[in-house]
């Protein structure tokens, strides 16, 4: 999970998605938060879709495994996508 740390700045994360855009989870960057995200179903290989943004831009809602999760941008940033 941590092997990709060096190249993180160039990677696309859930934060960078446009509304309605989909991506596939590649890895979770923050080991502790990662555990929480994994339990909520954000497993590497799963498809995510950015569903909506709060009126002030943060937090956002995403759709994973047919259900909607809401999370803050700094949390979304730790979910990296496959390019």
């Amino acid at each position: 999970m941590q092997t990709k740390l060096e190249e993180q700045s160039g990677r696309k994360s859930v934060r960078d998605l446009e509304i309605g855009e989909r991506g596939v989870i590649c890895c979770l960057q923050d080991p502790e938060m990662g555990l929480k995200l994994l339990e909520m179903g954000c497993i590497p290989g799963t498809e995510v879709k950015l569903n909506s943004r709060a009126p002030l831009g943060d937090p956002i809602t995403i759709i994973v495994n047919d259900y909607t999760l809401s999370l803050r941008l700094d949390e979304a940033e730790t979910i990296l996508l496959k390019s």
Binding site: G34, L35, E39, M40, L69, S70, R72
Partner: protein, 718 residues
């Protein structure tokens, strides 16, 4: 109908036939999986709210009649996504499930799972199954899932999981009977295992099993992951585990992540033949469309503030009718008792106990109304949207999107407002919210503000519409709000987080509220307030009553003599004489003595001992200020604003100038704005935080702030 008391010793016996004892059943499941509905269905109003040591979640237990000869005690555990707790409150689950010696160790767990989210809900189930605790899966909202096109093959699921699976709809009560039949059979733990502990962990698992005499490998693995959070482990055990895991290079985070991924893989496989999705979800689409309006940049906030206004209006205006009735009822009851009986004990009963009780009951309408709204907001899923819209702003001040509701409700009354902070999961955010909520100007401050504003602020109009008195009142509210958010900011810096704050949560689809749950919430919250905070409020009311009604030696008789003598000399009416007697007696009471000894302390704020007495008695409730002032200045029965105003205006200082100058009055308003003068709030904060530290810190902080601000105000204006 059912007996709510249970003898703990009866539960520890060596598993006699299940019919003769009360079984312990734990309810566990994901948040929003219908756990509370099921709990309510099983226990009805037969619930008891207690404490788990060290955390702020309530321990909800209830007795359920499973069949005519078999009762079970149901314990409702906090909602969680896994057995690896991520918050303090979730830790009660492992404390209970991992300690076989615990008095609450369950004979059976009912795992609730939302049928339309089966994959994620099964994660927790598979962990519990690997612990080898007898379990039943309550597959909730099957009909809803079916209408969404999700078909679940229940017999196949039962085969795959190895435990009974009961399809149900807890909110409608469907499937409860079937669940009870299954529970009443003596259940064994399932035989299916869902996770294979990696070979390289075997030495660790074996060592832990040997040392603690455990039979289950997976439980041993959890000891390794969570030994720091297990309260029942001894110090030397923790040290031993520390050393073992260090030596074996046990990487908890990575291993947990691998386990979760492995479990999901296994769940995906087993669900392949069990779940069929036939069409896309309709509900989600409907929710999304509704969200385009309800979380819209403009309409979203407009609707939200409209709703807040409605709630505020309800607590403020609608609640006043039942509150007046309670008030009147208590006064009548007291009058009736006093007419028929006499003596000091009767006075203690009426003016101390019953008046104190009245002070508790009078809050019930506000609490009931606020929690009706909050329960509806939670049930419909709108609460998640409030958090979603407000989080970014509130976070800047160390608060949380959910802090908006307590803060706004605080404008009506801090007591229900503090209770409503329960919806905030994060410990630090919740404590900050509870701490600052009483700074919002509550309705009890209004009588104080109106009397004093009427006294010193002229009734002038600006631009034809802006009333100066109204503007000052608004300014006071604004000041309270600013005090609240800046205190939050201060606490954000000072307070250390006990747990990592996650915002990530399930965003529920909109649903119709379950009215039964709303009703139970109202009853439970009102009960909790009356019984838990009520004790403290009644006790303090009695103490304050004693202080104000008794004086040392024969000081009361002398006060009466003095008043009567003055009456004769000046030829006052009977009513005026009674007023004088009350005024002189209060002056010579213990409260009066305390007021006098307080004078040097409050003099810098511009107050004299008379105000000192009012400050003291205001501790029972702020609105007592007006009553006390009218007694001290012997205004008598006619307690309306204009008579009090005239009386206070006539009050002169030593030089013959008006005593209530703008400086004094504003200083007093500012003092009431900041000071923590509410026993009810202190009592409820203690209940909600489960410690005396928070209410005491609040008392010191707010009163200190009040002192400084009132001092500045007094010197600014004079």
């Amino acid at each position: 109908m059912t007996v709510t008391t249970i003898q703990p010793e009866a539960l520890q016996v060596e598993r006699p036939p299940i019919e003769n004892r009360i079984a312990k059943i734990a309810l566990i499941g994901n948040p929003n999986s219908g756990k509370s509905s099921l709990f309510n269905q099983l226990t009805g109003l037969n619930q008891k709210v207690g404490n788990f040591p060290g955390v702020t979640v309530d321990k909800k237990t209830g007795i359920s009649q499973i069949n005519p000869g078999f009762k079970a005690e149901i314990i409702d555990l906090p909602g969680t996504y896994s057995l690896y707790p991520k918050s303090l409150d979730e830790r009660v689950i492992i404390d209970l499930l991992y300690d076989r010696q615990s008095p609450h160790y369950p004979d059976l767990v009912i795992v609730t799972a939302d049928a339309s989210n089966l994959k994620r809900n099964l994660l927790l189930f598979t962990q519990l199954a690997d612990m080898h605790i007898p379990a039943v899966l309550a597959l909730n909202m099957v009909d809803v899932a079916e209408s969404e096109g999700i078909r679940i093959d229940v017999p196949a699921l039962q085969r795959e999981l190895g435990v009974p699976v009961i399809p149900m709809n807890a909110r409608k009560g469907i499937g409860i009977a079937a669940l009870k039949i299954v529970i009443s059979q003596q259940l064994e733990a399932g035989k299916v295992s869902f996770f294979c502990i990696p070979e390289e962990l075997q030495p660790v698992v074996m060592a832990i099993k040997a040392r603690f005499g455990l039979k289950n490998d997976y439980l041993a693995l959890h000891y390794a992951h969570q030994y720091k959070n297990l309260r029942f482990l001894k110090e030397q055990d923790v040290a031993w585990l520390d050393e073992l895991l260090q030596k074996r290079d046990f990487k908890s985070n990575t291993l947990q992540a691998n386990e979760t991924i492995a479990r999901y893989t296994r769940i995906n496989e087993l669900l392949l033949d069990v779940v069929r999705v036939e069409k896309a979800k309709q509900e989600e689409k409907f929710s999304n469309r509704l969200d385009q309006v309800l979380t819209h940049k403009v309409f979203g906030y407009l609707i939200f503030f409209g709703l807040l206004f409605l709630i505020f209006q309800a607590i403020f205006a609608w609640a006043s009718y039942p509150m007046d009735l309670i008030d009147e009822g208590i006064t009548r009851l007291n009058g009736l008792i006093q007419e028929n009986f006499s003596g000091p004990l009767v006075n203690l009963l009426t003016e101390g106990v019953i008046a104190g009780l009245g002070g508790v009951l009078v809050f019930v309408p506000q609490i009931a109304i606020l929690f009706a709204f909050i329960a509806i907001l939670e049930e419909t899923g709108y609460m998640a949207r409030i958090t979603f819209m407000m989080d970014k702003i509130m976070r800047k001040f160390g608060l949380n999107g959910k802090s908006v509701v307590p803060l706004m409700s605080g404008v009506a009354c801090a007591v229900p407002a503090v209770m409503s902070a329960r919806t905030i999961e994060n410990w630090k955010d919740r404590m900050i919210t509870i701490f600052v909520t009483p700074l919002m100007s509550c309705s009890a401050r209004i009588p104080v503000y109106t009397v004093l504003i009427a006294l010193v602020v002229p009734e002038k109009y600006y631009l034809g519409i802006f009333n100066l008195q109204g503007l000052v009142l608004m300014g006071l509210y604004l000041l309270g709000f600013l005090a609240a958010i800046f205190s939050a900011l201060l606490l954000k810096i000072l307070l250390k987080a006990r747990e990592r704050s996650y915002f990530i949560m399930e965003f529920p689809v909109y649903k119709m509220p379950r009215w039964k749950n709303v009703g139970i919430t109202i009853v439970e919250k009102s009960k909790a307030f009356v019984f838990e905070a009520g004790k403290v409020i009644v006790a303090i009311s009695i103490i304050l009553w004693v202080l104000a009604s008794y004086g040392p030696g024969n000081s009361f008789e002398r006060a009466e003599q003095k008043a009567l003598q003055e009456t004769r000399e000046k030829g006052l009416t009977e009513e005026q004489a009674a007023g004088k007697v009350a005024a002189y007696q209060l002056e010579s009471s213990y409260a009066g003595i305390i007021g006098r000894s307080m004078e040097p302390v409050i003099k810098p704020l511009g107050y004299d001992w008379k105000i000192g007495i009012a400050l003291l008695t205001s501790f029972a409730a702020r609105e007592v200020f007006v009553g006390t002032m009218s007694t001290i200045y012997s205004i008598g029965e006619a307690e309306n604003v204009s008579t009090i105003k005239n009386k206070l205006m006539a009050e002169r200082d030593a030089n013959g100038a008006p005593f209530f100058t703008p400086a004094r009055s504003f200083s007093l308003m500012v003092f009431y704005l900041f000071a923590m003068q509410c026993v009810s709030t202190l009592a409820i904060v203690r209940r909600e935080t489960k410690s005396w530290t928070w209410p005491l810190a609040q008392l010191l902080y707010m009163s200190g702030l009040a002192y400084v601000m009132a001092f500045l105000t007094y010197h600014l204006f004079s």
